[in-house]
C-alpha cells in the first residue's frame, strides 16, 4: 500500500513516535543545524539557524573540497570530515572559527565519517595502496593517528558505537571497489563485498561480520533505535530495474542482518538514516522523498521532498534536508517547510538543539 499524502504520512509518523510531550513545542523553533554544503563559490561547513520560514547561514567556513559527515564533540566543538577526495579533518566551533586542520597521511583517504569517545577518534579511512578499509585511531585532542585497524572489508563508510556490546564499534564496509585514478567511474562491481563488522574498540579485534545475501547491496549509513540497528543501503545492480526495486533499508538485531522491502520502488538509494520514534526514516534522494519504517521494520509512509537526503534526529522531531527546502517532521502537529536558499546541502547534518 502506498501512502503518499500528508494525512497518511502523519498517521504513519504518529504511529512510530512514542512520547507526546513534545507535541506542543513550536515546530523548528530555535533549531540550529551543523551541516556541509556547496554554494556557487565553493564548499563550506557551518551552522544553519531556523528562523522566519527559512534556514539561514549563521556561521560558515570555506573548505577546500567537499565535506561529508559532521560530529559534535563532548566539549561542544565540531568536526567536519572530507570525502572524495578525503584529505582533511577540521575541528571548528559554532561561531564558524576553524580551530585545527588535520591532513591525512600519504596513501590514506578519509571516507567521510568519524565518531569519538571523548579521548579517541575512530575514523573511517582507506588504504589507497591496497584499497583495504581501515579505522584510523586518533588522539581526540591532537587529531594525530595512534593506530590503524583493518575493517576486514573495502570502502568503509559510517561507523557507530555498538548499542548491544559496550566497548565495540560497528562499521559498515560499503564494499564498492574503487581506484584512485578512476574517480567516480566504478570498476569490478562483480567483486563487491559489503559487510557489517563488530570491532573491539580497545584492541581492534574483529568480533563479528555479517553480509546480506544480495552482494550488490552496499551497507553504508547506520542509526540505532534501541537495540535495533537500521542500515541505509545503496544498490549497485547492473540491471536498472533491479536497482530501482532494491531495498533501501536493512536491520541488524545484534545477531542477524536482513533487508527490508518497501511497497514502492525507492530507486535503490538510501542517502541517510535516522531513528524516528520507535522506527526509522530513510532518505531517498533519487526517489525524491523520505521513507518511514516502524519498529518492526514495516512500512509506515512516504513524504515527497526533492533530493531529500540529510536527516537530523532531534528529541521531538526529525529534520530532513532537500534541494531547496527542509522539513521538520513531527507527529500529530503540522510540519513546516523551510526554505534553504542559496546552498546545496551534502548528505548529512546534525541537530545542535
Amino acid at each position: 500500500m502506498r501512502m503518499r499524502n500528508r494525512r497518511d504520512f502523519l498517521i504513519g509518523l504518529a504511529a512510530i513516535f512514542a512520547a507526546p510531550a513534545w507535541a506542543s513545542a513550536h515546530v523548528g523553533g530555535s533549531t540550529r543545524l551543523a551541516a556541509a554544503w556547496r554554494t556557487a563559490g565553493g564548499y563550506q561547513v557551518g551552522i544553519l539557524q531556523a528562523a522566519g520560514g527559512r534556514l539561514a547561514v549563521s556561521a560558515a567556513i570555506d573548505v577546500p573540497t567537499r565535506a561529508h559527515a559532521l560530529l559534535r564533540e563532548p566539549g561542544g566543538t565540531l568536526l567536519a570530515i572530507a570525502r572524495r577526495p578525503g584529505d582533511w579533518l577540521l575541528r571548528w566551533d559554532e561561531d564558524g572559527r576553524p580551530l585545527a586542520w588535520r591532513w591525512i597521511e600519504p596513501q590514506r583517504a578519509f571516507t567521510g565519517h568519524v565518531i569519538s569517545d571523548g579521548n579517541t577518534l575512530y575514523v573511517a579511512e582507506t588504504d589507497l595502496d591496497s584499497g583495504a578499509g581501515l579505522i584510523g585511531v586518533r588522539d581526540a585532542k591532537t587529531l594525530e593517528k595512534r593506530a590503524e585497524w583493518p575493517t576486514h572489508g573495502i570502502d568503509p563508510h559510517q561507523l557507530v558505537w555498538d548499542a548491544g556490546h559496550p566497548g565495540a564499534l560497528i562499521v559498515a564496509n560499503g564494499g564498492v571497489p574503487t581506484r584512485p585514478e578512476s574517480g567516480r567511474v566504478k570498476v569490478d562491481l562483480d567483486r563487491m563485498d559489503s559487510s557489517l563488522v563488530r570491532i573491539d574498540a580497545t584492541s581492534g579485534e574483529l568480533l563479528g561480520q555479517w553480509r546480506l545475501d544480495d552482494r550488490r547491496l552496499s551497507l553504508r549509513h547506520l542509526a540505532w533505535n534501541g537495540r535495533l540497528l537500521g542500515i541505509a543501503l545503496q544498490a549497485e545492480h547492473a540491471v536498472a530495474s533491479d536497482k530501482t526495486a532494491a531495498p533501501v533499508l536493512a536491520v541488524f538485531d545484534g545477531d542477524s542482518l536482513r533487508p527490508i522491502t518497501s511497497p514502492q520502488p525507492l530507486a535503490g538509494y538510501g542517502g541517510d538514516i535516522a531513528p524516528v520514534g520507535s522506527g526509522f526514516a530513510v532518505s531517498c534522494p533519487r526517489a525524491q522523498g523520505v521513507a518511514l519504517f516502524a519498529a518492526d521494520a514495516s512500512w509506515q509512509g512516504w513524504m515527497p521532498l526533492t533530493e531529500a537526503c540529510a536527516l537530523a534526529a532531534a528529541p521531538d522531531q526529525i529534520w530532513v534536508g532537500g534541494r531547496l527546502q527542509a522539513l521538520a517532521l513531527k507527529a500529530t502537529t503540522p510540519w513546516n517547510r523551510w526554505a534553504v536558499p542559496g546552498i546545496r546541502l551534502d548528505n548529512h547534518w546534525i541537530s545542535l538543539a
Partner: protein, 324 residues
C-alpha cells in the same frame, strides 16, 4: 566488441572488425586524435631514457655531464607523461598506468631495499612493488640520493627506466576497447573532471594549504626535480585541449556544439580562458597566486559538473554521487 590496435612506432591505428554496430565512432575519433599521439610521444621519450641512465652508469670521468643528461631526459619524459595521463582514459585507465608509472609519494625505504635485491630483468622487477618504481622513484634516484656510476643503485635505476619504457610501449600498442558513444562521453567527462581535480587539489592547492596551515614550505609533487610547475603546465594543457581545442573532434566543446548546446560551450570557453590566464607563469613560491589559480580551476570544475555534464547527458550531479 571492437578493438583498435595501434602501432607503437608510427602511432598509427588499425581497426579490427568486431564492432559495436557503428556506435564506436566517437571512441575511435578520441583515440585517434588524442590518446594515440600522446601515447606515442610518451613512448618515444621513454625509449631515450634507458640509454641516458646506462650512459650514467657506465661513465667514469664524465659522470657529472652524464647525470645532467640523464636528468634532462627524465624531464623530457615527464612532459609527455603528464600530457598523456592528465585525463586517464583508454589504455591509461585500463592498464592502471598512473599507478604503474607514477606512484606517489615514492617510498625511499622500499627503493633502498629493491637496490639491495638487485633485480636484473623484467621478471625480477615484477617482484618489486610499485611504490619503489616509476618516475617518482627515478626522480628520487636522480635528485634526492643521486646514483653513482657503476653502483647497485645505478643498475636499479636502469631497471626502473627500462620498465617505464616497456609500459610506455605497451600503452602505445594497447588495443583500445571501443565503447558506445554514451559510455565514451560519460568516461571522458568523468575522467576530465577527475583530472582537473587532481591538478587543482592534489598537485596544487592541497600542498599549498598544508604548507600554510603548518607554516612550512610546500611539498609539491616533482619538487625534487624542480618540475612541479612544468607538470602543472603540461597537465593543464591537456585538460584545456580536451575541453576546447577545435582540432580535437571529441573535445567537450565539440560535443556540446554537436548537441546544439552553444551557450554552454561559450560558458565553458570563457571559464577555460580565465583559468588559462591564471595558469601562466605559476611558481611554487607565490602561494597566494597559486591559490587564486586553483579557485578558477575549481570554478571551471563546477561549471563542467553543473552545466556541461547535464548538457551531454552525463550524470555527475550531487544526487547521483553513488556510494555517499
Amino acid at each position: 566488441m571492437r578493438r583498435i590496435a595501434c602501432n607503437t612506432t608510427l602511432g598509427a591505428c588499425l581497426f579490427s572488425m568486431v564492432g559495436l554496430a557503428g556506435a564506436a565512432n566517437l571512441s575511435a575519433d578520441l583515440h585517434r586524435a588524442w590518446s594515440v599521439p600522446r601515447a606515442a610521444e610518451f613512448a618515444d621519450a621513454s625509449a631515450r631514457l634507458t640509454p641516458a641512465i646506462a650512459a650514467l652508469c657506465a661513465a667514469s670521468e664524465e659522470a657529472e655531464s652524464a647525470m645532467r643528461i640523464a636528468r634532462r631526459q627524465w624531464l623530457d619524459v615527464l612532459t609527455p607523461w603528464e600530457r598523456l595521463s592528465a585525463v586517464a582514459i583508454g589504455p591509461v585507465l585500463e592498464r592502471r598506468a598512473q599507478r604503474q608509472i607514477d606512484f606517489m609519494p615514492t617510498r625511499p625505504r622500499l627503493i633502498e631495499k629493491a637496490i639491495q635485491d638487485e633485480p636484473t630483468d623484467a621478471a625480477a622487477m615484477e617482484l618489486v612493488g610499485t611504490p619503489a618504481k616509476g618516475l617518482p622513484a627515478l626522480e628520487w634516484l636522480l635528485w634526492v640520493k643521486p646514483i653513482q656510476p657503476d653502483s647497485k643503485a645505478c643498475r636499479y635505476a636502469l631497471q626502473v627506466a627500462d620498465e617505464i619504457a616497456r609500459e610506455a610501449k605497451a600503452l602505445a600498442a594497447a588495443p583500445v576497447v571501443a565503447s558506445d558513444d554514451a559510455t565514451l562521453i560519460g568516461e571522458l567527462v568523468n575522467q576530465w573532471v577527475g583530472g582537473l581535480e587532481r591538478l587543482r587539489w592534489a598537485n596544487m592547492e592541497m600542498p599549498a594549504r598544508i604548507a600554510l596551515t603548518n607554516a612550512r614550505p610546500a611539498e609539491f609533487p616533482r619538487a625534487a626535480s624542480g618540475a612541479a610547475a612544468a607538470g602543472w603546465v603540461a597537465q593543464w594543457r591537456s585538460l584545456r585541449e580536451l575541453a576546447t581545442d577545435t582540432s580535437i573532434p571529441v573535445s567537450l566543446d565539440a560535443l556540446l556544439r554537436q548537441r546544439g548546446a552553444d551557450s554552454t560551450a561559450e560558458a565553458l570557453a570563457q571559464a577555460v580562458r580565465r583559468a588559462d590566464a591564471a595558469m601562466h607563469d605559476l611558481d611554487t613560491v607565490d602561494l597566494p597566486r597559486l591559490l587564486e589559480a586553483a579557485q578558477l580551476l575549481a570554478a571551471l570544475k563546477r561549471l563542467v559538473e553543473e552545466q556541461v555534464a547535464p548538457a551531454l547527458g552525463v550524470n555527475i550531479g550531487f544526487s547521483d554521487a553513488d556510494g555517499d
